[in-house]
Amino acid sequence: MGSENAVAVEVSDLVKRYPKAPVDSVGGISFGVRRGEVFGFLGPNGAGKTTTIGILTTRIRPTGGHARVAGIDVVADPVGARRVLGVVPQQNNLDRSLSVRQNLLFHASYHGVPRGLRKARADALLSQFGLADRSDGRPDDFSGGQIQRMMIARALMHAPTVLFLDEPSTGLDPAARLFMWERIAQLKSEGTTVVITTHDMEEATTLSDRVAIIDHGKLLALDAPAALVRDMAGERTLDCTVEPGRAVDGSAVQGALIRLAAVDRVEQVDDPGGAWRLRVYVQGDTAPLLAVVAQAIDDAGGRLTDVRLGEPTLEDVFIHLTGRALR
């Protein structure tokens, strides 16, 4: 058991081709999720995120490959897997015939949580998720953010080892999104493994210990957000605003910059009222280069009036990997 305990989700060569589909929706991906980490799945619509989550949560049969959740093979023992996993799906699937509270209670009863315990848990979760005062209402009468919270609360009723959330923040307002982020951070602190899909860079960066970038059913990269970004050489930029000063034209300044060893290339961005805006693509860290760049501009006769440091984001990583923007 020892080493297996450290792995919450194991996926190897997972393939899914839907009936009659010309291509694989999931095209042979492998990864592992460590116990206790928040694992982000980042990809555009149609990347295969929901399909992958569907396989891991026993709702979709894979065409090939293997997947284990908490050590349990999801194809060989789906019933066992369902005992240890929790799901917050992309779409509202609350029981509309039941109140919020009853949704939680019945869900727990399906999972064999004893009566006294399920009442105590429902009370605790309803108040944690700010639903206590309306717990007798029907799901239909609630906002998207509240429905999202109900589904998370419901999924926690049987205290799953691994919680899967499929695009939990899509369609939420900023406050509701922040609330959900806090809850996920809290779950992590309590030791729950969280697998979350998103097409939102900021969410992936903020929440995840590690991010898997997928597109067209292929795993393109997998690492901590900071590490993914660190590998992006040449995507660090200095956006400089330069006043002509003694210089006759922008190309002289550009030429001076391009001759610096750390500079990859220089682009003139636009020309708002006399000043030149130059985007300088550099190698390595940007901050130490500030003085050098300012000096070079000055030597070429221009005058640096404003500078902004551009750090690469996951978006840049994605563009670098796929040649397209995420949205």
Partner: protein, 275 residues
């Protein structure tokens, strides 16, 4: 929304996990359905009773009193309407809810994610629908007494009648499982219209099947409707003097139809449930 920083609130109440099997999960799911049905019981009753009630009133009482139907017709009709109530209520209790839960509300997903085999979820649907259908059929007896004054009854037939009613209820539920899982959601309305009416009138509910020998093609059509065997079985046991299909044939055919329909319905359900 204020962040909850209190550690005592944070930790979820925990407890000892007790041994828990798929059977118990299935019972918990059944309990949910009983809870929902029980809460809407009066509406449910009104829904299922109205059609057989009017059929019994118009055909069994009005037409006989006006002299358009023979005096004994109510006796022939009554067992058929019990069968009709069982089969139709069973069918309606699975077909439409399944279509809605699979396509529009996704509601069934929480149960498909419960720790029990997917097939058990389908069977539970059939069982709860059969329970509702049995209630609908049972209610026909007091209604019959009230409308007609008396209903055909022989003490010796009690057990057989109960069993055949249960079979009819299960049969309807299994038909609903087939319809609800094989028919595309956007066609369910059309399908209901196209299926229900023929089912209603070819199930030997309003006439004894042997009496159709002069309309041979229609008799053959009726023999293909499994409800015929429920109607005829009940008729044979309740009013043995009326010509009827032999009771044992009815039982064999009805049980066979239940098995076949359930098997087909399960295939449909698994197809729908597993992507």
């Amino acid at each position: 929304m204020t962040a909850v920083d209190d550690l005592e609130v944070r930790a979820l109440p925990s407890g000892r996990v007790r041994p828990w099997g798929p059977w118990q999960t299935a019972l918990a799911i059944l309990r949910r359905d009983l809870f929902v049905t029980g809460r809407e019981f009066p509406i449910f009753l009104a829904q299922v009773i109205l059609q057989p009630l009017f059929l019994l009133f118009v055909f069994g009482k009005v037409l006989t009193q006006l002299g358009y139907a023979r005096p004994g017709y109510a006796e022939v009709l009554f067992p058929g309407l019990v069968a009709l109530a069982a089969v139709l209520t069973g069918l309606q209790s699975t077909a439409l809810p399944l279509v809605i839960e699979f396509s529009y509300s996704n509601e069934i997903e929480d149960r498909l994610l419960a720790p029990l085999p997917i097939g058990a979820v389908a069977l539970e649907k059939v069982v709860i629908a059969a329970m509702r259908a049995t209630i609908a059929a049972a209610v026909m007896f007091p209604i019959g007494v009230w409308l007609l004054g008396s209903i055909p009854w022989t003490a010796g037939a009690a057990l057989g009648v109960v069993v055949m009613t249960l079979i009819g209820a299960f049969m309807g539920a299994a038909m609903g499982l087939v319809l609800g899982t094989f028919v595309a959601p956007n066609r369910i309305n059309v399908t209901f219209a196209l299926v229900l009416t023929p089912l209603l009138f070819t199930g030997s509910s309003q006439y004894p099947w042997p009496s159709l020998s002069h309309i041979r093609w229609f008799q053959v059509v009726c023999a293909l409707n499994p409800m015929t065997y429920v109607s005829e079985g009940l008729r044979g046991m309740l009013v043995p003097d009326v010509p009827h299909i032999q009771t044992w044939i009815c039982f064999v055919a009805a049980v066979g139809a239940c098995l076949v329909l359930t098997a087909i319905g399960m295939v449909g359900f698994l197809r729908r449930a597993m992507g």
